[in-house]
Subunit: 334 residues, 2 copies
Amino acid sequence: MVTTKRYHLAERPDGVPDDDTFDLREVELGEPGPGEVLLDIQYLSVDPYMRGRMRAGESYAEPWEVGQPLEGGAVAEVVEEYGTQFEPGDTVVGNMVWAEQHVANAAELQSVSVGDLPASTALGVLGMPGRTAYFGTREVLEPRAGDTVVVSAAAGAVGSVVGQLAKKQGATVIGFAGSDEKCKIVEAEFGFDACLNYKATDDYVEALSEAAPAGVDGYFDNVGGPITDAVFTQLNVDAHVAVCGQIALYNEEEVPTGPRKLGKLIETRARVQGLLVGDYATRFEKAASDLAEWVGTGELAYCETVTEGLENAPDAFVGLFEGENIGKQVVKVE
Amino acid sequence: MVTTKRYHLAERPDGVPDDDTFDLREVELGEPGPGEVLLDIQYLSVDPYMRGRMRAGESYAEPWEVGQPLEGGAVAEVVEEYGTQFEPGDTVVGNMVWAEQHVANAAELQSVSVGDLPASTALGVLGMPGRTAYFGTREVLEPRAGDTVVVSAAAGAVGSVVGQLAKKQGATVIGFAGSDEKCKIVEAEFGFDACLNYKATDDYVEALSEAAPAGVDGYFDNVGGPITDAVFTQLNVDAHVAVCGQIALYNEEEVPTGPRKLGKLIETRARVQGLLVGDYATRFEKAASDLAEWVGTGELAYCETVTEGLENAPDAFVGLFEGENIGKQVVKVE
């Protein structure tokens, strides 16, 4: 019998999640049954979309029930297996829980193949955020050579990759990020043409019209809210807007309001489209292979923010909404 | 020397245009010069987009200057010509002014070819609104067989045609209109599957979820505002939204606000796109020919609301925002 620490949803948060939201329990796990594996979790992913799962109402992801374990993407080492394709010692990635150990159905796990890169990249640049950026850029943003593309949350796990992929297509890329330190990394490491620190900017429209004097042809939106409002005012004719996240709004319990934008779409004939990475599942291998190649050649840079210890997973999660991470936020469990 | 009555922009309206907005002048016209024609205007089109031209700020159409004549699509008879392709007695359509007579550059006019239909149809079902519906449906809404499509301003010049074209594609079509009389026409004449009288409905979301229990796959938006807010709550995965007009907002002088919608686009991966008919100019003849054929075979029904007398053009225009017209609103000048 194995004992593990595991986070459960204590209650649904009202606004920003806090200590009352998370319940760290000591639980006993059963032995793995046929087709199952016992896992030592190494890295746990915390992601903005999880805020939606804490809400009872409809979201694009199924809501978590109060009292149930919190789920999430994770990288783990196989400790025991019962008639599966894995061996003890294998490193696997898949949907797990916020815990140190976990028993999972082996059919829902994949072997991690990240070459010489850290296993945590299977949760970041080579994992869900990398794939989101890959398909969001390729299938929805569709940057054209010469476009001016704006990326919000430019220092984040998705935004940092989107900007680099848009540059590869010949676009000029402007980022929004939340500190001078982040903006420096966005420009120096991720190669954006410019990055605006929105926390040091009073007038986003003015700042943007200076940084992008020819207007905005593409916008990859990870945040929603006032930054997005400002970008919409600068859209050019035939602009493409990819809506990937609305992190600025995820802790709002009332329906958020803001300036109506549809009239601008008539003026510009702009196209606005939402995206969820799961729609592209048939091509995940191709994406991972391309992304790994570009990381290998140095064409694609990435960052990770690693928080140590399962007990700090709630802080790492809440920190996403404060912009405390640069690049992919993971929790190193042990 | 010819004398004509002509409306000029007296001042920019603040909110709903009123008597102070319009200045009816008696003006003398010069003789037509080389390449010009003198026209007797028969029918004048008043359209919601003209409200945008009364505003100094940016819109998709160039603003009118205070003191200048109001422009608009019109049908006219050629009275005199000076070395043009037209003969006296020809009926022409093009951009003219709110007047009884007008001198125009013949190169910017087209012969009216509406077969057995009234010449006014060159301003309606066979003119700009018909073409807007044609390309908006075909290129932006893209209804698929089995879709549930919602059309706002369903009794209007554009909406009435959109609904019929979506039906042709095999969609179930639900309209929103502003009176029981209109809804009756929308269902009986235009063949919509249902029409909701929004002025007799307290809860648009509830009414829509009853009329469209399987959700909304396509939305052709002519109005914006609360009706559009309600439709967005009902969008299905992969929905298409065509944004053609926002008449509910055109008299607002402040930036209108409302519920933020981008999060819904992530959930549904819906595509929202604005449209302006001028983008499809290379195919206007094909559109007019298709539309005329469908009217001829009885596949496409249309309505017109005719206001008599140039002096009533301002009332006809303001009436658009009150929903006083059914189908295309024209002014019969003489």
